[in-house]
C-alpha cells in the first residue's frame, strides 16, 4: 500500500474551488475510473455510510449522467449533469447540479501523466455566490468545528 498522497484544495476566485491530487497509476486507468459505472461505484461514495444506488455515466458530449446515493436511514441524494467536453484520456467538462439546489456548476477535470503517476485536477466553477453558498451549506459537504490548529494548516498552504 503506497503512502497516501495529499489532496490540495484552493479557491482561485470566490466562485471557484480547485482540487489537485496525485495517483500512482497511468492516466488511462484514472480516467476510466471517472467514466465507467462499475468503477465509479467503488470509490465515488460520498460521506461514510452512503451507498451508490444509481450510476449512469456519460461518454460523449450532450449525454446526461446521474449519480444517487442513499444512507442507512433512507436519505437519498443525487447529482446529475450534462457532458460538455469528452477528451479521453485527458479532459472532462460537465455542467453539474445537485438535487434540491439551484443552478449548475461547471466542472473541469484534467488528467496529466508523468513518470507513471497521474495528477488529477478538478476545478468547480459556480455561477454565483448564492449557488456556491447553497452547495457549501448542503449536507454533502457537512462541516466540522474549526480550531486554531486547522487555521494554521490552511495558512501553511
Amino acid at each position: 500500500m503506497v503512502d497516501t498522497e495529499t489532496l490540495k484544495i484552493t479557491t482561485p476566485s470566490d466562485l471557484e474551488i480547485e482540487m489537485t491530487r496525485v495517483f500512482h497509476a497511468p492516466r488511462r486507468l484514472v480516467f476510466d475510473a471517472h467514466i465507467k459505472p462499475e468503477l465509479l461505484k467503488r470509490w465515488l461514495l460520498g460521506p461514510d455510510g452512503w451507498e451508490m444506488v444509481v450510476c449512469t455515466a456519460a461518454t460523449k458530449v450532450g449525454e446526461r449522467y446521474r449519480y444517487e446515493w442513499r444512507n442507512a436511514a433512507g436519505r437519498q441524494f443525487g447529482i446529475g449533469g450534462v457532458c460538455q467536453e469528452f477528451h479521453a484520456p485527458d479532459k472532462l467538462v460537465a455542467l453539474e447540479s445537485m438535487d434540491g439546489f439551484p443552478g449548475e456548476a461547471l466542472v473541469t477535470t484534467t488528467f496529466v501523466e508523468e513518470g507513471g503517476k497521474t495528477t488529477l485536477t478538478t476545478r468547480v466553477r459556480y455561477p454565483s455566490k448564492e449557488v456556491r453558498d447553497a452547495a457549501i451549506n448542503s449536507g454533502m459537504v457537512g462541516g466540522v468545528s474549526a480550531s486554531y490548529d486547522r487555521l494554521a494548516k490552511i495558512l501553511a498552504q
Binding site: 470566490d14 495517483f23 455566490k129 457549501i136 466540522v144
Partner: protein
C-alpha cells in the same frame, strides 16, 4: 477583553455567512502571509510590511481587503494600534474547506485502493499470459 468587544462589533454580526470576501481575501499569497504572521500575535503595519519588498501604501491596500472581510481588526487610531486576527470569518471558511476536504479525501483514498487493485489484476494477467506461452 479587547478581542471580545471586537467580536460583538455590529459590523461583524451584520455580516451573514459571507465566504465571498473571505475567499477573495485568502486568494492572495501576500494576504495569506499577513494572516499567518498575525496568527502568531498582533503586529503594526510596519512590522507586517517588513518581510515584503512592498511600500506601506501597498501593504495598507491588502490590510483594507482583510478588514473588509472581517478577518483582521485594528484600534481606533489606525496609525498606532496594531492589527489583530479576528477568528470568526476565518473559522467559517476553514469549516467549509475542512468538510469539503474530508469528503474528497475519503473518496480519493478509495480510488487509490481501486487503482491498486486494477494494476495488480493487470499484472497477474500478464504473468499468466507469459507462463502459458
Amino acid at each position: 477583553m479587547y478581542i471580545s468587544v471586537r467580536l460583538y462589533n455590529h459590523t461583524v454580526m451584520d455580516r451573514t455567512l459571507n465566504l465571498d470576501s473571505t475567499f477573495a481575501a485568502l486568494a492572495d499569497p501576500t494576504r495569506r502571509a499577513i494572516l499567518a504572521r498575525l496568527a502568531k500575535g498582533e503586529a503594526s503595519v510596519l512590522e507586517l510590511a517588513a518581510p515584503f519588498a512592498m511600500s506601506q501604501p501597498a501593504i495598507s491596500k491588502h490590510l483594507k481587503v482583510l478588514e473588509r472581510a472581517g478577518l483582521i481588526s485594528h484600534g481606533r487610531d489606525a496609525q498606532r494600534r496594531p492589527r489583530r486576527l479576528e477568528a470568526k470569518p476565518l473559522a467559517d471558511a476553514t469549516k467549509w474547506l475542512e468538510g469539503y476536504r474530508r469528503f474528497w479525501e475519503a473518496n480519493y483514498r478509495r480510488l487509490d485502493a481501486l487503482l491498486e487493485d486494477l494494476q495488480s489484476a493487470a499484472g497477474s494477467t500478464e504473468r499468466s499470459k507469459r507462463k502459458s506461452k
